[in-house]
């Protein structure tokens, strides 16, 4: 921005280095946003996924306004009801409103999933950058550790960690924290490998050599100069991972290894709905649909983002 202004010679240096006013900043953000949006519009999948996510987050943020029943307070006058004007998704065996349980459960689930992915990135990014940048023995050992962790089939690593949490009788906040730790910990090898492979190609480029020549510190080159070029595959990976993490959390709580009973939870609600499949099969439908919608939204958005950020793949 600034350089074109100098070339045009319309503004003095004092004017140019003056911090931008709020109005100017907003205008600049509007341009960036408009750019991003028009990119988004190019891929139908990304656009649909984005809209689904906007709807999801709006509903989850507005949950306290949108629900009128307490999700954990039993109401023994209205148990196992079919959907009606009062309870639009019906009630469960304790007379709790399914609609409000689905919404409150979603708030919790999506928050945990996002924190878990952020935690995984926070370990995986530095791990991958340093491993790729230093290479040699460090790299070999670091990658073999990743291989070992990735060899755990599907949900087994989470099963081990969550079982430990259960044996230590952790509850509420601590239980959620362990869940976030387990899911993030299982994600970090994947993120690390992804970053490492980009770093391996990036570090051969001229700008890295140039930085070495002028004597920048290794750590600074790795984290501040190489890392920003590895971001776009990471964003795609993290988005798709969010959908996967939500599926895993739902599966764990379906097995009864999630949060303890009164907490609204899609997986656990599905599991308890199995006892009433004959009387009220709809009970098992809504939490499941909620999982599908959320995971699909993240998958669509991630898939579309991949097409936008990696045009080579989009040509296929």
């Amino acid at each position: 921005m600034a350089s074109t202004e100098f070339q045009n010679g319309r503004r003095s240096i004092e004017e140019a280095i003056k911090p931008p006013t709020i109005g100017e900043r907003l205008a600049r953000y509007r341009v960036i946003l408009a750019d991003a949006f028009s990119e988004l519009y190019k891929s139908k999948t990304a656009f649909v996924g984005f809209m689904m996510l906007v709807a999801l987050f709006t509903v989850l943020i507005l949950t306290p306004v949108l629900t009128k029943y307490n999700p954990i307070k039993p109401d023994y006058t209205a148990f196992l009801q079919k959907p009606s004007a009062e309870h639009i998704m019906g009630t469960d065996r304790y007379g709790r409103d399914i609609y409000s349980r689905v919404l409150w459960g979603g708030r919790r689930l999506v928050t945990i999933a996002i924190l878990a992915v952020i935690f995984g990135l926070a370990i995986g990014i530095p791990y991958g950058v340093l491993s790729g940048y230093y290479g040699g023995w460090t790299d070999s050992i670091a990658m073999r550790i990743c291989d070992g962790l990735l060899a755990f089939p599907g949900i087994l690593l989470y099963l081990l960690i969550v079982t430990l949490a259960r044996e230590w009788k952790l509850e509420g906040f601590w239980n959620d924290l362990i869940l976030i730790f387990a899911l993030g910990f299982a994600f970090f090898p994947e993120a690390a490998r992804l970053v490492r492979s980009t770093v391996l190609t990036e570090k051969e480029k001229e700008y890295v050599e140039a930085s070495h020549t002028i004597g920048e510190a290794n750590l600074y080159i790795a984290m501040c100069q190489i890392l920003p070029n590895c971001i776009s595959p990471l964003i795609v990976n993290a988005t798709v991972r969010l959908g996967f993490v939500i599926l895993i959390i739902a599966a764990l709580s379906f097995l009864g290894l999630g949060s303890p009973p009164p907490t609204p939870d899609w997986g656990a609600d599905l599991s308890s709905a199995r006892d009433h499949m004959e009387r009220n099969p709809l009970l098992a439908v809504f939490p499941g649909l909620a999982i599908c919608y959320t995971v699909l939204a993240f998958n669509l958005f991630g898939d579309g983002l991949r097409d936008i950020l990696d045009p080579r793949l989009a040509e296929r």
């Binding site: 070992g148 949900i155 099963l159 379906f254």
Partner: protein, 316 residues
């Protein structure tokens, strides 16, 4: 090839090391004394017995020696005794492996039967309505949690229509007809998600192949389009597809923990689940280790098979 195979087997060692260290640490990280954990409540009071067991299990030795002893026993298939049934854990696990393999293989087979035609048609009619339908369907397919799909199938086919049993297992060696009858729903639940993955894979590897020069050559020689596609392209596209579905076995085995629980399928997944519920630590530890090893070995075999099928790949 021999050098590559040996190299690849050597690479497995660190992976297996991490796997064993993690499963070994699991029991160490449990609350309470290891003796309490391993022998159960009623015998834990006797101090003489405790001292004897300390020696017997080598618990008076440093932790790395304990790991060595445990590993040595595990290599001989001695994983200790189940705390619940008092039978050797190894025997319990090996009895449950056939049921899991049976379900897994039929599930994968089913998915390939669905996915290959769907994926290749999508690739051939690229960017058509058929292609988009196949793509959207498979994206929805990977967003549906398998346990919810299973429950919906049970509600529809067992409770509503009454066509199929909702759970249970009959060995195929006892009564093949009955066995298949009980297998349909679980295999469908395993297969559909896998089918969604494989469809996406088939489509992209078909597109890769169709862009290659030999396809143009075949066309210019006047071969019919169907011969070009089905005789040459599909055959080459099968190689990566089958390889990656082999590698997906890890996901599949993880998913069977939940599915086997729903359908009361007496496989290794259900064994692990019941062990978690019953606090049967030796069984949890051994179950997860055995599943992990199966995955590592299958990955190795698939990788070697890939080199055999596709000699052009550099033996790196």
């Amino acid at each position: 090839m021999l050098v590559y195979t040996i190299n690849r087997i050597l690479q497995m060692i660190p992976v297996l090391f991490v796997l064993t260290v993690v499963t070994f640490s699991f029991v160490q990280l449990l609350p309470g004394d290891v003796i309490d954990t391993l022998i159960g409540d009623e015998e834990a009071e006797d101090p003489e017995l405790r001292a004897f067991l300390m020696k017997e299990y080598g618990l008076d030795k440093p932790i790395y020696t304990q790991y060595g002893i445990w590993l040595g026993k595990a290599l001989q298939g001695d994983f200790g005794k189940s705390l619940i049934t008092r039978r050797p854990v190894g025997v319990e696990l090996f009895e449950s492996i056939p049921a899991t393999v049976y379900l897994g293989l039929v599930g994968i087979g089913l998915s390939v039967i669905i996915a290959l035609p769907l994926g290749s048609i999508a690739a051939v009619k690229r960017n058509s309505a058929t292609d988009y339908t196949a793509q959207v369907t498979s994206l929805i397919g990977i967003s549906i949690p398998e346990f919810w799909f299973a429950i919906m199938c049970v509600i529809l086919f067992s409770l509503h229509l009454g066509w199929l049993p909702s759970s249970g297992y009959v060995s195929p060696f006892e009564d093949l007809g009955q066995s298949l009858y009980y297998l349909i729903l679980p295999a469908l639940a395993v297969g559909f998600r896998q089918a969604a993955y494989t469809t996406r894979l088939t489509r992209s590897s078909m597109l890769d192949e169709m862009n290659k020069e030999y396809v143009d050559t075949a066309r210019s020689l006047g071969f019919s389009e169907s011969k070009v596609i089905y005789k040459y392209t599909l055959r080459n596209a099968l190689i990566p597809t089958i390889t990656i579905s082999g590698l997906q076995l890890a996901n599949l085995l993880g998913g069977t923990v939940v599915l086997e629980t729903i359908f009361a399928w007496p496989g290794i997944g259900q064994a692990i689940y019941l062990a978690i519920i019953d606090h049967d630590y030796p069984l949890i530890q051994a179950g997860i280790l055995v599943l992990g090893i199966i995955v590592v070995v299958v990955n190795l075999l698939v990788d070697l098979l890939y080199r055999v099928l596709n000699p052009r790949v550099a033996l790196g």
